[in-house]
Every structure is written in C-alpha cells, then in structure tokens.
C-alpha cells in the first residue's frame, strides 16, 4: 500500500503515483458485452486499468407497487467479492457495497432513461422487475464509475425473454431491448488537498478528502449526485468538480 501522505504530497506537486495527469483515466477503458449471455438477460464486463467489474441483468415478473400501479421496477445490488480484493471479507453486503449500489441505481433511475411505464405488463397486477447485480472481479479503485458503466452496458445488452402462458421462458430471448431511451453515464471526481482528479487507484481513494459522483443524461444534464468522504466541499469546488465530471463522462460514453 502507498502511504496517504505520499499521495497527498505528490498531489501538491501536480503529480500522481502512476504518472497520470489528474484528468486522465487508466487504460484500457473497455466494455465487453454479453459475457454471461447463456444465463443473464443482459451482461457486460468493464475494465478500467486494473479494475474489472461485471454486471448482469435478470428479469422477473412481479406485482406493481400500490403507489405506482402502472410502472415496472428496477433493483440494483452490488457485492464486494472477497475474490476481488484482500480488503473484502465474506458476508452480507457492507455499507460500501450498499452505497455503491444505491449511487449506481440513482444514476440510472433518476435519468428517466428507462421507461418504467413500458415495464408494466398489466396495471396493478403484473410488471417486469429489472434486477441488476454488480460484482467487482478485481477491485483496484474507482468502482463507482466502472460499476455504473457496467450496469448501463448490461441494460443496453439486455433483451426480454419470451413469455408463454404468462410464464417467462428464460431459455428463449426475444429481440426486444429494454425501454432505454439513452445512456446515463457517471463520473466521480476526487479531491486530494486542493486538487481534483478522476479515476483514482485504490490508494488514491484512501488518501482523498472528498469525492463527488455526478451522473449525466445524454444531453449533459445532471441527473444524480452523491458526495462522499469526510471533508466538506465549497460551492466553487462543487462546480469545478461537476465541470470536470461532465467532460470525462462524455469520454466514457464513447466506450459504450
């Protein structure tokens, strides 16, 4: 592990421990589709430098919630697999995994990219539940952006399964894609000292004072945000971070 103080000192000198610029993502940034096509309705694997994340979509029938009888629903879960890092232990999802899943969820849900009405099969009685599960395979920093990208890529890859006599026939996918009108993309900016940087390594994450995840619609509107970390951010800092995130999210979108 690289000491926090070393990373903080480097940041003061406008440098990073792996030689990147502050606004530079690790390479490659790679999206592979249909990595679990036999089992999942949609799936994707995202590589960002050493970080690898997979996401899969399963569709199930459910009953609409009473307050939204004409809408389907989405559920996003994440699990910090002990396979992916010596930091993680077996057990139910910890707070880190819960926050990750909720931030990815918000980025997709609040963008309104997914038409929930079209996920309703019969008002008040039957809906599709879209379940996205996110798993890091190698957790080396910036799980937020890699997971959000993997989740939206898996959704893009997903096809409805065939329905026969009101039952889902999982073996037979149709050609019908998800009612997804565009791809929301997130970018997280980290603050170390008075510097802002993207795509942190795990060591940089641990040395950061604060972070801000911003999700954007295709038009560049902000559709979800989450501030993390212990230190506060000023008004000016927030907007500087949003601007940097917007720029980099545009680049990430091209990888989809």
């Amino acid at each position: 592990m690289i000491p926090k103080t070393y990373i903080q000192t480097l940041a003061k000198k406008n440098a990073r421990h792996d030689g990147r610029r502050f606004d530079e993502f690790r390479q490659p940034v790679l999206v592979e589709y249909a990595v679990s096509a036999k089992s999942a309705e949609g799936s994707a694997r995202v590589t960002m430098g050493n970080t690898i994340v997979v996401a899969g979509v399963k569709l199930e029938f459910g009953q609409p919630y009473p307050d939204t009888p004409d809408e389907g629903s989405i559920m996003i879960s994440a699990e910090m697999l002990p396979l992916s890092s010596p930091e993680y232990e077996s057990g139910p999802p910890g707070i880190e995994a819960i926050e990750l899943a909720r931030v990815v969820d918000r980025g997709i849900r609040e963008s309104k990219a997914l038409d929930f009405k079209k996920l309703c099969v019969k008002s008040g009685e039957k809906m599709w539940t879209v379940m996205i599960d996110i798993y890091p395979i190698n957790a080396s920093g910036n799980l937020f952006d890699a997971s959000a990208l993997a989740a939206i890529a898996a959704l893009k890859n997903a096809r409805f399964p065939k329905v026969e006599d009101d039952k889902v026939v999982y073996k037979e996918p149709t050609d019908e894609p998800m009612p997804l009108s565009f791809m929301p993309v997130s970018c997280t900016v980290h603050k170390i000292g008075d510097k802002f940087l993207v795509d942190p390594t795990r060591d940089e994450e641990l040395a950061a004072d604060a972070r801000l995840t911003v999700a954007f619609t295709e038009k560049g509107e902000v559709c979800a945000m989450q501030k993390g970390g212990e230190k506060p951010l000023t008004h000016t800092e927030v907007f500087a971070m949003v601007d940097l995130a917007a720029l980099k999210a545009g680049e990430l979108r091209k990888c989809l």
Binding site: V35, S39, P82, M131, Y135
Partner: protein, 238 residues
C-alpha cells in the same frame, strides 16, 4: 431410442479455455471455461486464521468458497449469499484440492480460495475446481500435481462425459457424476453421484471421465505456460 449427441462425441468435452493471472489483486488467479460454464478463482493468503481456535499449528488450512453470481443461473435470479448447496460445494472443493497441496510451511494460517461462476451450463463445481487448482499453482504453492475435474454420467442410457444443462436435466433418465482426479496418479479426490445406474454403467462413465481429465490437464498446463508467454490458450474439445 438411445441418446445421441449432435454437437460432439459421447467422449468429447466441450471447448475449453483457461487463463491464469486474471485477477491482479490476488496472489494467484485463473479463469476456466468449459462450454458455456465460466468460473473465476482467486487465491489469497496465507494469512492469519481467525478465529484462533481454527488455527492448525502443524500446517496452513485451505478454505474454499463457491458462489454463483446472481444472474448466472438458468432461470430466475439466484438469491445472493451462501446457501446449503454452495457451502457443500465449497467443502467438497476443499477436499478435492487439499491432497495435492503442501501448506506445512504456513502453520496457523489460512489460504482462501474464492470461486465465482459468471455463467453456468452445468459442471460448475468441476469448472470451479479446475480454475481453483490453476489459481493455487499460479500463486506458487507447493503442489504434487494439478487437480482436474469433469462430470460424467448416463444420459438416456448412454454413457457420456461433461454433461451440459440439457443433458443433466434430460427427461428420460440422467445420472450426473462429478469427478476430480490427480491426473498423474489417477487418484480420485472428488466423487459425487445423482441418479440410478448399474455397476457396469458406472464403470463406463468413470472411464470416460478418466480420459476427459487428461484433456483438461493439457489445457491447464498450457495455460500456466502461457502466462509467461503472455498468450491465451484455447484448445477445442472433440
């Protein structure tokens, strides 16, 4: 009518692919794919065993954990977290691998093996064992040999090796026998059986598995060598 295969011979394995060193954070790791079943395995440790009363003062302990990703099943979403099936598979995987592994240099520690299934089309515990054995070798532990595993069985009266899901769930009689072996000695380190069959059928099936094991062994050895040549090895099953 006897069961026949259209995509491969009765003694043929599905296409395999193996790669080691796929998870950088781990001390050792591997991906093993057979047909549409894909397993990842990562090895961490030796690290201190907790709780303390579990520590073995004579040698390190091997601990295996098997998990199916929530979207990796053939029907509904698999509920995440351990269940009776996954815990049992973790245990038999441990027993399948332990005989080749020498952990006497690491008393009081645990070596953790994590197996994750990305996609499943039957034979998941066997694919997991193949991946785990590669990951342990990649980690550089002292091993007598690799461990190879494949299922064999009877489908509609016909002995076959490496059953896929359609064969495992074949309506008109199916017997599934996962087997793991130390290929150099032919010793069996895992054997389970579900179904009804005659002693003769059992013998035929096990012989098919023995042949299959040798093919898997070649793919595994090639994957370990390829790590140093930075290549991806892919060998077609027959």
């Amino acid at each position: 009518m006897a069961y026949t295969r259209t995509d491969r011979a009765l003694n043929g394995l599905r296409p395999m692919e193996a790669k080691v060193g796929v998870i950088k954070n781990a001390r050792g790791s591997a991906m093993f794919k057979i047909g549409k079943t894909i397993a990842y395995a990562a090895v961490y440790g030796p690290r201190e065993m907790h709780p303390k009363f579990m520590q073995n003062v004579e040698r390190g302990t091997l601990r295996c954990n098997y998990n199916m990703m929530a979207f990796s099943g053939s029907g509904n979403r698999v509920r995440p977290g351990p269940n009776r099936r996954s815990r049992e598979i973790g245990l038999v995987t441990q027993n399948a691998l332990a005989p080749v592994l020498d952990l006497t240099e690491y008393p009081k520690t645990v070596v953790d093996v994590y197996i994750e299934l990305l996609q499943t089309d039957a034979g998941t515990r066997c694919a997991g064992i193949c991946a785990a054995s590669l990951a342990l070798a990649d980690a550089g532990f002292k091993m007598k040999d690799l461990v190879c595993a494949v299922s064999c069985g009877i489908v509609g009266g016909t002995p076959v090796v490496d059953l896929d899901y359609s064969e495992e769930s074949y309506d008109d009689h199916s017997v599934d026998i996962p087997i793991a072996m130390i290929p150099r000695t032919g010793e069996i380190t895992l054997m389970q059986l579900d179904g009804v069959l005659t002693r003769e059928q059992l013998e035929k099936a096990v012989l098919l598995a023995r042949d299959g094991i040798q093919k898997i062994y070649e793919v595994q050895k090639a994957a370990l060598k390829a790590k140093f040549a930075d290549g991806k090895i892919s060998l077609e099953g027959e």
